[in-house]
């Protein structure tokens, strides 16, 4: 992204911050929502403007699972790792999905930035376990077969 365009967005977040006197978690949430992750430049920009050490931003960002310091894939597949989903076999869904999408070990995003697979602790839809979220759409009672079909569908629409 061009720097001036990014700066415009950051200015707007800064305005909101000064208007509503919210805290740095809200700033980080706004950055994450605007860019899909927390770019390093954005943190340094805010650190300078607000005179808050960048380490405080990074400390907070790395503490909460909602924040990401690396760019994320265009399609986001979330697999619930709640107890009910675990009992109904979510571990197998995850293993198979990482294999299907060729995601490198210790990563969660494909190198071409098309897919991100993430685990979430519990999205609270345990009644229809195992649950997956494909691009913000919640799918219940997921099976290996259905999941692979859905992923292929997304792939072919790319």
């Amino acid at each position: 992204m061009k720097m001036y365009k990014m700066e415009k967005i950051l200015e707007k977040i800064l305005n909101d911050y000064q208007l509503n006197k919210v805290n740095i978690i809200s700033i980080l949430q706004d950055i994450e929502n605007s860019f899909g992750y927390i770019p390093e430049e954005a943190v340094f920009w805010f650190s300078k403007k607000l005179d808050i050490p960048a380490s405080r931003f990074f400390g907070t960002a790395t503490f909460y699972s909602q924040f990401h310091l690396k760019p994320r894939g265009k399609n986001i597949i979330t697999i619930c790792r709640g107890t009910a989903c675990h009992v109904k076999g979510s571990e197998r869904l995850i293993n198979r999905l990482f294999m299907e999408l060729d995601i490198p070990p210790d990563e969660e995003t494909t190198p071409d930035l098309k897919f991100t697979v993430e685990k979430v602790n519990c999205i609270g839809a345990c009644g229809i376990a195992p649950v997956t979220v494909l691009n913000k759409e919640v799918h219940g009672k997921m099976t290996l077969d259905k999941l692979i079909k859905e992923v292929k569908k997304i792939k072919s629409n790319e």
């Binding site: 503490f63 909460y64 909602q66 107890t83 109904k88 999205i123 609270g124 839809a125 345990c126 219940g140």
Partner: protein
Amino acid sequence: MNKDIAIKVCTGTGGVASGGEEVLSAFRNAISSAGLEVTIYEKCSAHRVGCRGFCAKDVLVDVIINGEKTTYKHIKPDMVARIFNEHLMKGNPVTEWVVGEEYHTFHNRQTKVVLSHCGEIDPEDIKAYMTVGGYKAARMALTSMSPEEIVDVIKNSNLRGRGGAGFPTGLKWELGLRIKSDIKYVICNGDEGDPGAFMDRSVMEGDPHAVIEGMIICAKATDSHHGYIYVRAEYPLAVKRLQMAIDQCKQSGFIGNNIFGTDFGFDLKIFQGAGAFVCGEATALMRSIEGKRGMPTPKLWRSAEKGLWDKPTVLNNVETFANIPRIIMNGANWYRNLGTERSGGTKVFSLSGNVKNTGLIEVPLGVSLREIVYDIGGGIEGGKAFKALQTGGPSGGCIPAEHLDIEVDYESLAQVGSIMGSGGMVVLDETSCMVNTAKFFLEFTQAESCGKCTPCRIGTKRMLEILERITSGNGREGDIELLQELGHYIRSTSLCGLGMTAPNPVLSTLRYFRDEYEAHIRDKRCPAAVCRELITYSILEDICNGCGACKRVCPADAVRGTRKSLHRIDNDVCIKCGTCFDACKFKALMKK
């Protein structure tokens, strides 16, 4: 045609997943083109969650004609036209889609207090809440009760914190009232992080006004004027509906200055969490609102003395607040008499796992676990055998069949090595490996440990490593004793509740299912055939008909065989992903 018709469609998180929105708009389209006078209510998620056992894939719809209610299950948009033509226009219900007997048994066994509005009223409309008596309790509390009187009612009701620890709510409020300060806070803890618990989500989505009303009453009782609702980021629909409810309250004058014409003022904000389990802990949650890393602080003071920004703070759970308006309206005795001697009222549990009727249930404290699992839950899915009931999420334990007759309350669950927790109940059947289950919970707590205190940060990691080697077939003699010793130390020396309870899943499974640990360690065998490194897949000769389904789905090309002849699995290549096991329609695949 002069009929009074109401249709209620579920549209909660799960409802949307099952196509609730589409069903709703199909009904709306059909009605607007026919011009009937029909009101469409959106049924909230909590109720539909309660019926999940029946509407697992699809949507539950209530059609009420002149007060007569018919409930349909498994409704899809393309089924709407027939219901519309036959039932709404001609008055003949489509009987084959109507719910069966078990639906009514499921509900009749329950006592609904907190969930009484969920699934009945439109959560996005303050008027719907007010027609069922909403904000009467708050009006009464603000205009005709003193803070001391409110505290007395809550104390007498025997209500205890529904977040899990069970601290008496009235006592907490009394302390909050007694401490004087220019600024005090009321916080609602909606950071429902326990995997397997979703009652708070359903209440926030299905009856947000009840939570807000409870908070207004609490504010009056403790003389606070500022409030926060802390909601997890994973619950977007709850955030949306709470925000709508707050805006409607502001317009109606229930939040702001001079509420109900009194000189009492209260303002309320939502704070969205950012994904950290430990933030469900009170002190960590407050640090999070302050914009810091959500790490717990040593409890030198009670939060009622020094909480958010070092000001006196009363923090309660969503379900606790939702109980308050009902207690004020119906009186302390009514609530007290619902429960046991030690804890009053009802508790909502989320029942899930290998049980027929999964969903939210609300029962008076004191019912037996057996009633919950077998009468309300309908027993185990697919005729398998019951193995354990996991309660209290990662802080709780597994309860074996021999203890199913205990009466549910805070103390009795603690006695059998588990906890009440926020009310998650996951049923495990014979296909669950208890060592794997313990490992699952420890993986969770280990990842969610904030890292501040050593016993939790390093202790849980070591315990997890031991469990990993046991489940991968490398367990050693003495591992069980080591787990017990570590568990004991972590429990007694951790800073906050997360660490103090983290060993519970391991210790309770060791207590009741030690033989499974021993089978893993000594015989390198997983009795439930779950642990990947210890099982092999094979194809049963006399059942396989050579359809080739397993071969087609195998991602590792480990299945050998030609069409219509016996297939077999090449175990050197097999990656044990289990895809073939699911794909075989003839149950010819075996794992052991």
